[in-house]
């Protein structure tokens, strides 16, 4: 009997700790791939796999852009990349400080991790709080996740990784610091969360005016493929235009509602405009945005 109990505990432990993200890299060009994150919110059934990350195979190594929400996710990304190339993942870039983009970092203890000073500071200050929040939402797949803060501060306009060059563009709007990478070899633009493709934009640290300005800059880049932070990669400028339209809609809604003296729920009960009906998670994200941002619009209303 004792052995039976022992065995059943051992087995249940073994099985419970092996969440499978079922990751499949999607090929973008000869040497570039991305992992597609689900257009959902953090949950135990998706294990936090809600954001995209991407990798580029260079002659000597692999560059990884963002690392997902958990150590386990990072480890499974590593396994998938190993199936394609034996080259080491030497370089990692964290595009911004949101937990679905950097908490996989501690699966890569041997890699050089890069981020801006702002992003690093935010990770150092709030990383542990993010983990607590995600453990509440995701449970087991978060096991073993710890903050592994970037050691290298991004400042240069060009990153030279063993001869493979990437253009670094510094923007803000989605957060206080959003890094965009442009690979001129493949003409792929990695925008991270400055672009959400057919998935409603998340705004917990957003500055809408700055974000729109940034998107207008991104629109000028002559890319072949755009890899967003959420949603599918695109070969058109449509996602940029749609994001600008959504942000303008969000801002105008708040300005007009403040003028009319509306309450948060009176705004939330309005019908969803047609053009955003195919955006995933409209209701949830729109609610979060209004609750977060509306008070400042009410305040700025002059008497």
């Amino acid at each position: 009997m004792k052995t039976l109990i022992f065995l059943s505990i051992t087995f249940s432990f073994l099985f419970s700790s092996s969440f499978d993200y079922k990751l499949k890299p999607i090929k973008l060009s000869e040497n570039s791939y991305y992992f597609y994150g689900k257009k959902e919110y953090f949950s135990s059934s998706n294990g936090g796999d809600i954001a995209n990350c991407a990798f580029i195979i260079t002659p000597k190594s692999v560059i990884l852009i963002d690392t997902g929400s958990s150590k386990l996710y990072g480890e499974q990304v590593k396994e998938q990349i190993k199936k394609i190339t034996p080259k080491p993942i030497k370089y990692i870039i964290n595009t911004h400080h949101h937990p679905d983009h950097f908490l996989g970092n501690n699966a890569f203890l041997d890699s050089d991790i890069y981020a801006t000073q702002y992003t690093k500071d935010e990770i150092d200050q709030h990383g542990d709080l993010y983990i607590v929040n995600l453990v509440n939402l995701i449970h087991e797949p978060m096991n073993g996740t710890k903050v592994n803060s970037p050691q290298n501060i991004l400042t240069s306009k060009i990153l030279d990784f063993d001869g493979y060059k990437l253009k670094v563009l510094y923007y803000d709007g989605h957060t206080g610091s959003d890094v965009v990478l442009y690979d001129e070899n493949s003409k792929i633009l990695y925008t991270s969360d400055l672009i959400f493709n057919k998935r409603t934009l998340a705004t917990p640290h957003a500055n809408i005016k700055k974000w729109i300005k940034t998107l207008e800059q991104l629109r000028k880049i002559d890319y072949k493929i755009l890899v967003p932070g959420h949603g599918e990669a695109s070969r058109t400028k449509e996602p940029i235009d749609e994001n600008i339209a959504y942000l303008k809609f969000l801002e105008n809604t708040m300005i007009n509602s403040a003028k009319e003296g509306l309450d948060v729920f009176e705004i939330l009960n309005k019908p969803i405009p047609k053009e955003f009906k195919d955006f995933a998670m409209f209701k949830e994200e729109f609610e979060r945005s209004i609750i977060n941002l509306y008070p400042s619009y009410e305040k700025s209303l002059s008497n």
Binding site: G261, D263, V264, F265, I291, E298
Partner: protein
Amino acid sequence: MKYLFLSLMTLFLSVNLYGKNPVYSPTFDDIIKEIIGDEKYVFDDKYIELSVPNFADNATQVPISVDGKKIKNAKRMILFADLNPIPKIVDMDLNKLLPLISVNIKVAQETPIRALILDEENIWHIASKNIRSFGGGCDVSSQASNSNSDFAKYLGQTKSNLFQKDNVKRLKASIFHPMETGLIFGNNPFYITKILVKNGNEILSEIKTYSAISENPRFIFETKDIAENYTIEFYDNDGNEFVSEAK
């Protein structure tokens, strides 16, 4: 067999007794008794529209709104959250205000929230909703008094606006105040305890407020009165008085 039957019956009875309460909580009966004693009440989600977020990300700022305008000549309105350490939120002697309020609150954990409205026949109507949240909103000390060194300069700064909505006047008022609960060791309670809404010298409503209201609170009230300007007076437990004009 006898015991099984007995326990099943007990279960059945208890389920039926609470069946009327749309959002069950272990503290509801005690709180309701403390607030309204033995007065009559009915659960009424039909005539009162109580709105809460689908999920309250930020437990220190959870917007809620109550619209009980379908209840004619309402006399008093009380809001409380069952599982908050400070359950009461507001207690309004409605007088010339309509049974409507919009305000942000703190929640300590996931909790039911109730809006009680007393009608002209002295029956309380109770609307219930559940606020989903990871909580933690009550044991965070005020951001304003902590991080802002100019706190004293901003304390009591008010802003009010008046809007014409159909045939009623809507008052929006906000004030810079930490609304400190006093639940954290070393922090004294410091919050607004009373609001008076006035038209000249006439008091339209007297509102008792509690520290479950978020810091730097914002309020929406509505009145059928048709003046062009109103005075809103805020009183805190430290003896301060702040006055705001809404035009």
